[in-house]
């Protein structure tokens, strides 16, 4: 079975790599859609040309991220069949539906109206043109609803039954699939995350630009306004992220206790009633031995896990990973082959979770300071150059935070591909060779490196050129000789 192990690892690596790279651009483009639509709304309301310029300038970054997001999204739809054919057969009756609906309901609207938006600036009234960007933005928000409905089924399967005759899971209730509890914490959490991402990309890039500009440069107000709009949206996003994230983690205790225990570094179960303070301590730092699955170093703060997990100062219990593994072995049997036990990679989950949560805290702090420094009466944003550097570096930080969040979500599902129903080892395509997988992995990696590099390079050039860059002279013109469609007249 040695070769099979290779296939599972390669397929998992590919899924991780392609989804992580895809999800660099998904929240970027969804969020930028909202930011750009907001800017254009301001233009339509206030009729101030600066907002139009803003819409068009950040619109370029939006279009770039959208393009990379779309093409890397193609991989996602194909790879379930390519690398995970056993999975596709097992859950296709359920899982395919939201994917198809996503294309029908969201992708068509997104792409069509984005085309209309980016090519018709001088053809429609501003009010009509504004509709195009909002349809695009809303459709892309909707697309995440459907793909997350699919993901939520993997995390917390609902609305299904097992058909033993055909050996597959079948859909019994489409409504339940859409009302999945997991979906309604995951979806809002992702949406607010997109706002944070776009907010900091616009604000961070503006900060880099301000560093290059003289204080009295006429472009300064443009970028200061951009920071204000972007970070207002971003701050709303962060607050939302804390609220939805808290609910998300809370729900995990019942839905995926192993993920929760690993995130919080709980190896031995905590029973608050047995403790002196009647409260659960929270691990600020925890390092787990991946062999014994026991914590080897831990710094704890009392009460905090009760507050987070029980929503009260004291009380509540948390089952530890050691106890949960035993429970799973009893429930699902002792695994063999690729999957050895029911442990998740504790250290990865623990630290990824902290990077995400503390990263969000850092972003909140930076956003508040930036909005304060950038208020109308103050010039601090221009004089405190160190802070512009901090804000600039924050351009890249939401990517780290988003990725950490998904690592917790997806790795925390291990060893399941569909929680409690199917393990990753059973899901992989049995007929795809390791050589094929290796080839595609290498080529994807090279492609992503190229695309990422070109993206950054172009974005930098766009930023340096600035919003007043002379539009390249319109090389082409349009003719409307529709009477000569048959070509008879044109010959003359």
């Amino acid at each position: 079975m040695q070769t099979l192990v290779g296939i599972v690892d390669l397929a998992r690596f590919q899924f991780a790599m392609t989804t992580i790279f895809h999800f660099f651009f998904v929240p970027m483009s969804i969020g930028l859609g909202v930011v750009v639509a907001t800017m254009e709304t301001l233009y339509v309301i206030k009729k101030d040309e600066i907002y139009k310029k803003m819409t068009q300038f950040w619109g370029k970054i939006f279009l770039l991220s959208f393009a990379v997001g779309v093409v890397t999204g193609l991989i996602q739809e194909f790879q379930f069949g390519m690398n995970w054919s056993a999975y596709s057969r097992y859950v296709g009756d359920i899982f395919g539906a939201p994917l198809a609906v996503e294309a029908l309901v969201a992708f068509f609207a997104e792409s069509t109206f984005l085309g209309l938006w980016s090519f018709t600036w001088d053809r429609f009234k501003p009010g009509i043109h504004l509709i195009f960007i909002w349809v695009t933005a809303i459709a892309s928000l909707l697309s995440s609803l459907w793909i997350l409905a699919a993901n939520s089924f993997m995390q917390n399967p609902v609305g299904y039954a097992i058909d033993n005759e055909k050996g597959r899971a079948v859909l019994t209730n489409f409504g339940e699939l859409l009302l999945n509890k997991q979906l309604w914490v995951e979806f809002p959490h992702v949406i607010v995350g997109t706002l944070v991402t776009a907010g900091f990309i616009v604000a961070g890039m503006s900060a880099f630009k301000l560093l290059r500009l003289k204080k009295n440069d006429q472009q300064v107000p443009f970028f200061r306004k951009s920071i204000n709009i972007a970070l207002t949206i971003g701050l709303v996003g962060i607050v939302g992220a804390f609220i939805t994230g808290d609910q998300h983690a809370f729900d995990l205790q019942s839905m995926q206790p192993m993920k929760y225990a690993a995130m919080e570094g709980v190896d031995e179960s905590i029973n608050s009633a047995d403790r002196k303070d009647k409260a659960q301590p929270w691990a600020l730092l925890s390092v787990t031995n991946p062999k014994t699955h026991k914590s080897i170093a831990k710094i704890e703060i009392p009460y905090v896990l009760s507050i987070l997990g029980n929503h009260s100062l004291t009380g509540g219990n948390t089952k530890g990973t050691l106890e949960l593994n035993k429970e799973f072995e009893k429930e699902y049997g002792k695994p063999s082959g690729y999957v050895k036990d029911y442990y998740v990679p504790e250290n990865t989950l623990f630290f990824a979770f902290r990077i995400m949560a503390m990263g969000a805290g850092l972003l909140a702090l930076v956003a508040l300071v930036a909005l304060w420094f950038n208020r109308k009466k103050s010039n601090l944003i221009l004089t405190q150059r160190w802070f512009l550097w901090v804000l600039g570096v924050m351009t890249f930080f939401p990517f780290v935070v988003n990725t950490s969040g998904w690592i917790v979500t997806e790795l925390g599902r291990y060893p399941w591909v569909v929680y409690g129903l199917m393990t990753v080892a059973d899901a992989v395509s049995p007929n795809v060779s390791a050589a094929s997988l290796l080839t595609s992995n290498i080529l994807y990696f090279l492609t992503f490196s190229t695309l990422g590099g070109v993206m950054i390079w172009i974005s930098r050039r766009v930023l340096i050129a600035g919003p007043d860059a002379p539009e390249e002279e319109e090389a082409t013109t349009e003719r409307d000789p529709y009477d000569d469609l048959t070509g008879k007249e044109a010959k003359a």
Partner: protein, 337 residues
């Protein structure tokens, strides 16, 4: 086979036909970047004819894939894992093609721009070529085991039949693209494409004849459904000849475009009629994937059918409207030498 299963088989065919009709000309225009356009202005003009709409056209592929996943998961699983490397080639082509449309606009130099434009041209060839191979291999029989797993080697993909199939789809897309350029471009290119059409139409008719002969040897279409197969084959040739005649003899522009789109639709019809009631043909007929054996449950099919019935008309309405918005001819400025 239930009615719903049959309807879904039809719907998948419709989605593929729609995809090839629409992105077919996008691929054609992409290939023309270096075969019809002669300078940057002309390439820009070509790009602008498809710029606002190509992405929406590509969604037909995503929808076809998603619908196959939802309605025929066993088909989706066998097809996508079985034709792994070809699908990977298509993915790579669509990835580079998609970003190139965007990236080319931001290059500071002409050679830089041309890197991406060459990628567009190459990718616009690879994608329809691979699709043609997959489609023809899918109907001509591949090593599928009892569980539906397809383990094909290089020579299962690449037979004379599949290669001719791949070339035929490329040629159809290219001609479709030329016809599209003819109705969306004004200026020299509009007449330049006619010269190519005059050469390529006879070539395509000859190719279709070869394809028809190989179809007889590599599939059982003509043995099992002689009347339908021959009618559709005749229709394909007739439509092509019709487009040829309208172009050369009547100097019409819109009708040849419709005709070249129709040949692609008829090709899909041929494959799906021949497939029926199978969805994938195995070397061992006992292992054929059929509509009945590969479909989802009646409940899923029903839910999805309601969704499609509600949403697709709306999609068609705004997509057609967007084609109407972008109906004007694009004119590249003349370069004074």
């Amino acid at each position: 086979m239930s009615e719903l299963q049959f309807i879904w088989f039809l719907l998948i065919a419709v989605l593929w036909a729609g995809y090839l009709f629409l992105e077919g000309y996008d691929f054609g225009v992409g290939m023309q970047f270096f075969t019809v356009a002669r300078d940057q202005h002309e390439r820009e003009a070509l790009y602008e004819t498809i710029g606002p709409t190509w992405d929406g056209n590509e969604v037909w592929l995503i929808t076809a894939g998603g619908a196959t996943f939802a309605a025929f998961p066993y088909w989706y699983a066998s097809l996508f894992s079985g034709f792994y490397l070809l699908l990977f080639a298509i993915l790579m082509a669509l990835i580079y093609r998609g970003v190139s449309f965007e990236f080319r606009e931001y290059m500071p130099t002409v050679p830089g721009t041309q890197i991406w434009e060459r990628l567009i041209a190459i990718a616009s060839f690879i994608a329809p070529f691979s699709l043609g191979i997959i489609f023809t291999a899918m109907v001509s029989g591949t090593p599928i085991d009892a569980k539906g797993n397809l383990s094909a080697g290089f020579f299962d993909y690449f037979t004379p039949f599949t290669v001719v199939g791949g070339v035929a789809v490329v040629l159809m897309c290219y001609i479709h693209g030329l016809n599209y350029t003819r109705i969306r471009i004004d200026g020299e290119m509009r007449y330049r494409v006619v010269k190519q059409l005059k050469v390529l139409y006879p070539l395509l008719v000859a190719g279709e004849a070869v394809f028809a002969v190989l179809l007889f040897f590599y599939t059982n279409f003509i043995q099992t459904k002689p009347v339908a197969t021959i009618i559709i084959l005749a229709l394909i040739v007739a439509t092509t000849v019709c487009g040829w005649w309208l172009t050369v003899a009547k100097d019409r522009e819109v009708l040849p475009f419709v005709a070249s789109g129709l040949t692609l639709v008829e090709l899909v019809a041929l494959l799906f009629v021949g497939l029926f009631p199978r969805v994938m043909v195995a070397n061992n007929p006992a292992h054929d994937l059929t509509i009945t054996s590969s479909s989802s449950t009646p409940y899923t099919l029903q839910v999805m059918f309601i969704v499609v019935l509600t949403v697709l008309p709306i999609v068609l309405a705004y997509q057609i409207w967007s084609f109407w918005v972008f109906r004007k001819r694009i004119v590249a400025p003349k370069v004074v030498e």
